[in-house]
Amino acid sequence: MTTLSNINTSVPNISIHWNGDSAITLFFDAEAGEDLTRDILSLAEEYKSTFSESLIEAIPAYQSLTLCFDSQSIDPESIETSIKAILDNGFNDIATTTSRVIEIPVCYQGAYAPDLSSLAEYCKLSVDEVIQQHTQATYLVNMLGFLPGFLYLSGLADPLHCPRKKTPSLHVPAGAVGIGGNQTGVYPVGSPGGWHIIGQTPLSIFNPSAKQAFIAQPLDKIQFVPISIEQFEKVDQEQI
């Protein structure tokens, strides 16, 4: 059997593609959102139990799922067939836990919001309107990725869409809340970054030595809550 070409499954709207020589990516031709994210996570669980130890990573994204295998313990020739069989036979939905709404306090003031006024200007809104629109929406956590604990959120209001900075900042602090393109998010660790920083949370988004290292999981909802500089500093000190 030749496996050089990428095959399509008989399940509608899902295609299977090799991603290098030891990973396979499934693409879902459906609109990104809560339903699709739930399907992708369910499928990820199904594959974890089927392949157990030989499946090293199952990486969900908006419209894809990437499965990385231990090349020492799989038969690459048969892996496509096994993946397809599960799609054909159907898979169980993950237990529907009521998704949590997690409140993230954000200070949209002063030095914590270096790019807020320039973003407001670009969006032709007042600073207060930007804050109002950013805090009014409830965002869905589609997946984690890019940096440890970084949340990919959907649900940013259209008027707040703004192209990334032409020249990325060399250092964005952990907790910075930014907007880039049609996305908003919180930097979990300090890093260079191209997003417009409109605020900062005093909460730890990623804390590797804590029992709960991550503030949220896929399918959780995020609500940003505005706080003052005084409140920011109070929470910041309590965490130390």
Partner: protein, 309 residues
């Protein structure tokens, strides 16, 4: 029971085989850039093969031992001295308390691995002792070593002196062929772009690091902007951003990619990425996925022969 860094070197950190199973939380593998050299060094001091060792990059450290130890160094070739007398890669070395090991000029390759018969007194985070340099956790205080840092060693052992058979001693010429199989979005590239990619001899850029290796040279011609559905970014993926200059993702790379992947370095050749440095030349050779699997199988067989001996 420790060793001390008199000089820290450019980027000296604790690395093991890395973290597995956390990419869905944004945690890249981290770990040794050249896991093969790590394993060979561990083999020489009878450690388990993926145990944590000290990864040394381009400019090496000077280390004072505070106890008697058995050590071994594999990977990049530095001019090594122990108390100012030359010592060498690829063999077990016994050091005494007070001895000073210096990594002097770099001759070949990029990263060396110093394994110690014993264990580092370092906690394991997300299943590994590796230093996650981009996120600042794991390893020694979540960072690379600095001057005067002291690394504690527990359960040291004295091991029999041995050296690596000739076949297991790599040579790093600075001029490499990377075997690649088709990338996830390869079909979206035009024939002309694919041909240009495989025909070009690239130079490794100075902007390369543990996240990725940037290639300089003739840009891959892109007639129209390409947009893709973002998905899991595996190690060895070769992404082509709008500039046309490819980037090979490595152990500290991001977990989800947004640029089209033209090719993937085959698993058997990934260890080589750890030995590439600015100015090195690389060309990519297209191989089938079956060939990639064969190469991996041969590599396992080759290594098992050593580790079981």
């Amino acid at each position: 029971m420790s060793l001390k860094f008199i000089k820290a070197g450019m980027q000296t950190s604790i690395q093991d085989a890395g973290r597995f199973g956390f990419m869905h939380q944004g945690i890249s593998r981290s770990g040794a850039m050249d896991p093969l050299s790590l394993q060979l060094a561990n083999c020489l001091v009878s450690n388990s093969i993926n145990q944590a060792a000290i990864e040394v990059t381009l400019v090496g450290p000077t280390i004072e031992f505070m106890q008697n130890l058995s050590i071994a160094i594999c990977g990049a070739e530095f001019d090594l001295t122990l108390n100012d007398k030359p010592v060498f890669n690829n063999e077990t070395i016994h050091v005494n308390s007070g001895d000073v090991l210096a990594f002097k000029g770099l001759r070949k390759g990029t990263r060396a691995y110093l394994a110690v018969a014993g264990e580092f007194n370092i906690e394991s985070l997300f299943g590994s002792q590796a230093t996650h340099l981009t996120a600042g956790f794991g390893g020694y205080k979540g960072r690379q070593f600095g001057e005067n840092d002291v690394l504690e060693i527990v359960s040291p052992r004295e091991v029999e002196l041995r050296d690596l058979p000739e076949a297991y001693r790599p040579t790093f010429s600075g001029n490499y062929l990377l075997r690649c199989c088709e990338g996830l979005e390869a079909e979206q590239f035009e024939q002309e772009s694919l041909a240009a990619f495989y025909d070009t001899s690239y130079t490794i850029s100075v902007d390369s690091n543990r996240m990725g290796l940037r290639l300089e040279g003739q840009a891959v011609p892109l007639n129209a902007p390409m947009s893709i559905v973002s998905s899991g970014l595996v190690q060895g993926s070769i992404q082509v951003p709008p500039s046309g200059l490819p980037i090979i993702s490595s152990v500290d790379g991001q977990t989800i990619g947004g640029y089209p992947r033209i090719a993937n370095v085959i698993s058997a050749d990934l260890t080589l990425l750890g030995q590439l440095k600015a100015g090195d030349k690389v060309s990519c050779l297209s191989v089938s996925r079956q060939k990639a699997w064969q190469c991996m199988e041969e590599k396992y067989r080759f290594l098992n022969a050593l580790f079981s001996s």
